[in-house]
Every structure is written in structure tokens, then in C-alpha cells.
């Protein structure tokens, strides 16, 4: 039976962790994710979980401890943001290539420098090629639901990859919203026991984790890792279907909002989708055929599905809350356009970088994007592809 509650995103994720009752949590505080291990520490202290909680001295050590614990057969969760994620970088790749399904609540914050504690996506976007599955969520409910699903996705025998549950710092992590929680036993039954095929100190099957992998086999192992990421797409959908049965909440690779007959559309990630949906609603009321796609699964990237969803659109804007500094466009833009290339070539696509370092995102800004799309759809003339909104030039 679902329970209604009011929680911040971080509280909701900490509750999910309590319900999952992982074997090990190793963490180091960083705003705005600090509350996740902090709430969890009180669950540990109050005996509400059986978890070994390790308050390590840095994020590098946090991820290292998670890697050690997960290799030892433990279910492991941690949380971080921005520079904390950056300090984990070396270990992110090792977790993924060692096929250790660690779960990470990645609370999006601008990556230094300059130092900034507010929200954008420069932290997790930088880790997009680290081999982790990345799920993104618009609000508290999605952050909670994604964390529970993340554990089951990562640990699936066809996947065995670590998973990030990404949600926006402050906007989602600190704002309190209504939420529907599962019962503790429902979550426990949903995620089940973690029983990996291989783990350290299994007397029958001695193994080494992370040994030198030279020219003779390194490439094959990377190839298998790539295959696991491909497998993940199917598993993510299976887990979502099972989750829907339990909760009635439907998750896919992305959410399509008023896309059936949309002629102009934007692709966006995380909380801005909420703001943008309001704009779509008001445009629809005026008869404008506007739509929106909100990416949930960014790694693996849902290439074929995105193409199918966008095929009939005339003009499209991809919104990146992160710049790539490639002098060409943001990361999501690059992925979307490369998906469309050769598969849906007629669509005019532009890119907007927005909201860096927590710059406020207003409905007006998004309305202007749709106005420009309407113009492009009408005239066929695209103009500048790589754009910004909300910045002083």
C-alpha cells in the first residue's frame, strides 16, 4: 500500500536507501547531496538498517570503499555532487569496468570552477562516458523511484553496471513536495537479495578483481562492457514494467509530453521539464502544436526510440544545462543530433545552453525557444545552431 508523505528529494532518497537496507554506505559530505548520507547516518544510529556506514575522508575513498564492498558481495550505495563526483572520477571507471553495480545518488551541482554550489548538469554530464548507467528525474518522486529501480537494473546479470540516480540540486534535493512511498517490505521484495555470480572470498570460486588487463584481453573486456550497456536498455524497461505493476507509475527511457502531433518540440533533462511542461500547456491552449521530451535514461542513450518519437517534428530545440566547450553544442544536443543523423534528417535542430551555475529558468525563456522553433518551422531557416538563454552577453 502506497503511503503519501511530504519529503524533500534528499529525504526521499534517504528513505529509499533505508527501505533497500544496503550492506554498505560509504560517503563524504558535499552540498547539495550531504543530507542523503546524513539522514541515512541517523537511520544507522537508530538501528533502522543493518548497514555498515563508513564516513570516509574523501569521495575518492568513498567510491573506493564502495568498490571494495561491492566486490566483496555487498550491496553498496553512496551519494555525491559536483567536485565530489569529479574526485570519484578515477574510481567511476573502475567500478564500471569491474562490473560492480554500485548505486550513486548524484545530486546535480555545477562543477568548479569557478566554485558554485547551485544546480546545473556539468557534474554528471562529464561522467557520461564513465560506463555508468545514468537515470535522470524531474522531481522527488522520480528521484525516489529511480533509486529503487537503479539497484535492480544495475544488479541484473545481463547488466552488472553501476547506476547514477541524477536529480537537480536544491530544486529537487531540497524542495519539499508530495510523494508516494512504497511500504518497506514492498521495496525489499522488489530489489530482492544481491547474489552476484562472483565475489571475493567465495571459497569455491577464487577470483581477482581489477587485475592488469593487457593487450591480449583488455579490448574484449571493454567490448563486453559496451554490450552490457546495450543490454541495459531492455532491462531498464523490464524493471520499469515491474515497478509500474507495483506502483501504477509508468517509466520509460524518456517521457513524451504532448508529442503525438507535435510540430515543434524541445528535449530537456530533469526539473526544467516541469517548467517547460507549463509552457507547452499554455501553447497548446493557443493551438500551437508544441511538445516535449524529457530524457530519463541518458546512458544508455535511447537512439532508436528518440528518433521514432521525434520523426514527425519539424523543428526541435535541445536544452543543455551544461556546456561542452567543444565550440559546437552541449552534450545532450550532440547525442540527439547524432541519433537523428541518417535516421530523420529533415528535422531542423538547434541547441540552447541554459541555467549554468543555478541561473533561474523562467517560463518566458522557454516560451521564446518555442517562438523561435515556430519561426524555423514556418520559414525553414535555422540561423544560429549553438545558442544560450538567460546569460548576459
Amino acid at each position: 500500500m502506497a503511503k503519501r508523505d511530504r519529503l524533500s528529494g534528499n529525504e526521499a532518497v534517504a528513505v529509499a536507501m533505508r527501505q533497500i537496507n544496503p550492506d554498505v554506505v560509504a560517503a563524504f559530505p558535499i552540498t547539495p547531496s550531504t543530507e542523503v548520507p546524513q539522514y541515512f547516518a541517523s537511520f544507522v544510529a537508530d538501528g533502522k538498517v543493518d548497514t555498515e556506514f563508513i564516513p570516509v575522508e574523501s569521495e575518492h575513498s568513498a567510491m573506493s570503499a564502495c568498490i571494495g564492498a561491492q566486490a566483496a558481495g555487498a550491496r553498496t550505495i553512496t551519494a555525491t555532487s559536483a567536485n565530489g563526483l569529479a574526485l570519484m572520477w578515477e574510481m567511476l571507471y573502475i567500478a564500471a569496468s569491474s562490473r560492480l553495480p554500485v548505486t550513486l545518488a548524484a545530486v546535480n551541482r555545477a562543477l568548479s570552477g569557478p566554485i558554485n554550489i547551485n544546480n546545473d548538469h556539468s557534474d554528471t554530464m562529464g561522467a557520461r562516458d564513465s560506463g555508468w548507467i545514468q537515470l535522470y528525474g524531474e522531481n522527488n518522486q522520480e528521484a525516489y523511484d529511480n533509486l529503487i529501480q537503479a539497484v535492480k537494473i544495475g544488479e541484473h546479470p545481463d547488466v552488472m553496471l553501476p547506476v547514477m540516480d541524477c536529480y537537480d540540486g536544491f530544486i529537487t534535493s531540497h524542495a519539499v513536495e508530495n510523494i508516494e512511498l512504497l511500504e518497506d517490505d514492498e521495496v525489499k521484495a522488489f530489489v530482492g537479495e544481491y547474489n552476484p555470480d562472483f565475489y571475493l572470498n567465495d571459497r569455491e570460486n577464487p577470483i581477482s578483481v581489477g587485475p592488469l588487463d593487457s593487450v591480449s584481453h583488455y579490448f574484449e573486456h571493454k567490448r563486453l562492457q559496451a554490450e552490457a550497456m546495450k543490454n541495459a536498455k531492455k532491462v531498464i524497461l523490464e524493471v520499469a514494467a515491474e515497478f509500474e505493476k507495483l506502483t501504477g507509475r509508468k517509466y520509460g527511457l524518456f517521457e513524451e509530453y504532448m508529442m503525438e502531433d507535435a510540430e515543434i518540440a524541445i528535449v530537456v533533462i530533469n526539473s526544467t521539464a516541469g517548467t517547460a511542461k507549463e509552457v507547452v500547456k499554455s501553447l497548446r491552449a493557443k493551438g500551437v502544436k508544441a511538445g516535449l521530451i524529457k530524457i530519463r535514461v541518458y546512458r544508455p542513450f535511447p537512439v532508436d526510440e528518440i528518433v521514432k518519437a521525434l520523426k514527425k517534428v519539424k523543428a526541435l530545440a535541445v536544452l543543455d544545462k551544461c556546456d561542452s566547450f567543444n565550440a559546437a553544442g552541449g552534450p545532450l544536443f550532440t547525442d540527439v543530433t547524432s541519433a537523428l543523423y541518417g535516421r530523420a534528417d529533415g528535422i531542423k535542430v538547434i541547441n540552447y545552453i541554459y541555467g549554468l551555475g543555478g541561473r533561474d529558468v523562467k517560463t518566458d525563456d522557454i516560451e521564446k525557444v518555442y517562438e523561435r522553433l515556430a519561426d524555423i518551422a514556418k520559414t525553414g531557416s535555422v540561423g544560429e545552431i549553438y545558442n544560450y538563454f538567460g546569460v548576459r552577453e
Binding site: A41, P55, E57, G113, I115
Partner: protein, 250 residues
């Protein structure tokens, strides 16, 4: 009207953001007074940490560089090696210096880098809202040790000054406190020596200052000073842990 008391020149004329009763402000003043008295304002470069002192660059009237969390001693090493004539100091909390940046601290000390480190030990991560630090005392309540630090789970607090003084690299290591007028004066003398050592090219000097965090300790400023005296000083004895001048005299 005659001016009887004013801010040191090395402190800029802006309000500090520190919580009421926080001793970060006292230590800022001491550092600035020393910079004034040694007449090194024009040649001093500071490295700010990540922690409550992150805004130190707004307060010290000298060029400042902001380091990533824990990396100040390495950044300072770079500045000093590039400009040996500059006086380079870092100002770091215990999370910065004794947790995430332990490696940088130990290796700058081991190399005997000719820099000055001001180390604020308040036994907690202040800025992030009061989580356990490596310097948190056994039994101390923090956000991540809600019933007190337990040795079985979280081990023992680190005594950085003692640990660093086992190295050959450092020239001067002293632990002070700012809980009383006498100790504040002592701290100032130590900070001055730590800067003078650098001017005299004597090498790595570190002054650990026992400080309060009334906000995250959940105490009033006065209670916090008492708590420091009653709990921190017994575990972190004040004194000189290394002084090559004294060794040479002996």
C-alpha cells in the same frame, strides 16, 4: 575623535560572514596583524580552502587563490616554487587539511616546502552543516555520529601536529588555541614565527589553532569556548611539536 582600535590593513573592510562567536574571525585578525607587523602585505599570497573559510579571499587584503577542497598545500607549493620571493600561506580547516587533503598536507610537509599553513581545528565539518571530521572527539555528537563518535565504528581522532612532527621536513609545528586572551596572544606569536620562518627560508611551518564552531556544536559562543577547554585541549595538548631553532640551540 581619536581612533583607538582599527582593523589591520591586511583585512579588507567588509563584514565577515562567520557565525556569531565563531573563532575563524579571531584567527583572520591574527594573521592580518602579523602580515601588517612584518610589512609583507605587498608580497603575500594566500590560498583559500573549501570550508567556512572559503571566502577568505574576500577578507585578506592580498592576492588570493582559491584551491579545490584539500589541495591548498599543493597549490601553495606551486605558487612558492614559481615565485620564491613571495610569502605564501594557506588557511585551512580540519576537513580540508586532515581529511580530503591529508596527502597534500603530509607531502608538502615531507618536502619541507617553504610555506606557512594556518590550520583551524574545530573538530567538525562546519560548512557542510556539522558532519564528523577526522578530528572529531570520541563521543562527540555530529550529524553523522548522532549518538557520538564510536571508536569501533569510526576510529580515533587524528592529531595532525604530532603526526607531522615525526617528519624531518617541517621546521615549525605548534598547536595553539584561541579560547582566552593569553592563548590568543600565544597564537599570534606562533603565527608570526610561522611567517618569519618563511621569510628566513627555514621551510614548512604549520600552526594548528583549536577553534570553536558554536553553530554545529549546538552551543552558545561562551559554552563553546568552555567545551574547547574541557574537551579539545585534553585530547589536543597545546605546545610546540617541532622547532628547528630550538633543536639547533639544544
Amino acid at each position: 575623535m581619536a581612533i583607538v582600535f582599527q582593523k589591520p590593513k591586511a583585512l579588507s573592510d567588509v563584514p565577515l560572514h562567520y557565525c556569531p562567536g565563531c573563532t575563524h574571525g579571531i584567527v583572520h585578525r591574527l594573521v592580518a596583524e602579523v602580515i601588517d607587523e612584518l610589512g609583507i602585505e605587498g608580497s603575500t599570497i594566500g590560498v583559500a580552502p573549501v570550508g567556512c573559510a572559503v571566502f577568505a579571499y574576500n577578507y585578506f587584503n592580498c592576492d588570493m587563490q582559491e584551491a579545490a577542497h584539500g589541495r591548498a598545500p599543493a597549490v601553495a607549493t606551486g605558487i612558492k616554487r614559481a615565485n620564491p620571493e613571495n610569502i605564501v600561506f594557506t588557511y585551512q580547516g580540519d576537513g580540508d587539511l586532515a581529511a580530503i587533503g591529508t596527502a597534500e598536507t603530509v607531502h608538502a610537509a615531507a618536502r619541507g616546502e617553504n610555506i606557512t599553513i594556518i590550520f583551524i581545528n574545530n573538530a567538525i565539518y562546519g560548512m557542510t552543516g556539522g558532519q564528523m571530521a577526522p578530528t572529531t572527539l570520541v563521543g562527540q555528537v555530529t550529524q553523522t555520529s548522532p549518538y557520538g563518535r564510536k571508536v569501533e565504528a569510526q576510529g580515533y581522532p587524528i592529531r595532525m601536529s604530532e603526526m607531522l612532527s615525526t617528519l624531518e621536513g617541517p621546521s615549525y609545528i605548534k598547536r595553539c588555541s584561541v579560547d582566552s586572551i593569553k592563548n590568543i596572544n600565544d597564537t599570534k606569536r606562533a603565527i608570526k614565527k610561522a611567517f618569519q620562518n618563511q621569510i628566513d627560508k627555514k621551510g614548512f611551518s604549520l600552526v594548528e589553532v583549536l577553534s570553536t564552531c558554536p553553530t554545529n556544536w549546538g552551543l552558545s559562543p561562551v559554552e563553546a569556548l568552555d567545551w574547547l577547554r574541557e574537551n579539545m585541549i585534553p585530547h589536543y595538548p597545546l605546545g610546540t611539536y617541532k622547532d628547528i631553532d630550538a633543536e639547533q640551540k639544544a
